[in-house]
Amino acid sequence: MLPSTLTEFTPYASLIGGIMIGLSALLVLLVFGRVAGISGITTQGLLSPVSGDSLWRVAFLLGLVSAPWFLTKIGQDQWGLEYLATLPVSTELMGMSLAGLAVGVGTVLGSGCTSGHGVCGLGRRSGRSLVAVVIFMITAALTVAVLRHLV
């Protein structure tokens, strides 16, 4: 069911991008004293805002959404808007809505996503986050195996 698109292994770009993500998480801790988990930032910034503490989260999301535009603006279009438009996003809207729902409910119930539990939680040496990362990595791999190789 899941279409196969070949992708090139990009060790250097991925490592550099990963370091940028890690530095952003450190900036959030240094400046705002918080973990940079995107699901938490979304929930506490937009959906159940705590007064006086949601401004940085809204600003962070604004930066996140405008990143492709910003990269295009500074002449890095290989990572900008044009690049983004070429990416193979699934057109199965029913599947995408169910997946979005699962990601939304799952990250709030499980208190974190790839960034909150992965990038920040593992850096904090959190046992809860390690458990969460192992579980979602395994279920994600199983889901891909079933959807791509069995169905």
Partner: protein, 150 residues
Amino acid sequence: MKMPAMLRSALITMALGVAAGLLFGGGLLVSGMANPAKVINFLDVLGHWDPSLAFVMSGAVVCTFVGYPLIQGRSKPLFASSFQLPTRRDIDKPLVLGALLFGVGWGASGYCPGPAWVSVAGLAPGTFVFAAFMLAGMWGAAWWKDNNLK
């Protein structure tokens, strides 16, 4: 002309928040993680395995693993009164069930919340639908959690 202190602090908060978001989003784009096919190919150990995601995670976690203790050694953050990090240590049912559910959605779409946000500007219908249902799911789950787990 002197700006009122509250306005000044709000503007600094906004500027630093936007900067952190741009850096995070830039990292997702440069690393290839805004491409759902790259994420799915990492998870697809039986197919054309693309190990890139492991390099992204390693680069990011090395930063936080080294940097978190150094920053937490400070008495307080630059623009907040105190550090407020998760303190729970117990492995409870919501954590396990939530991670399970998140894994299924992530594997099926190749999107987790960060890449979904950063991809909105690509204007793909699949991204919009995913993001809208993700927000609805977060809102519903947050409401349920507030009423049942506290």
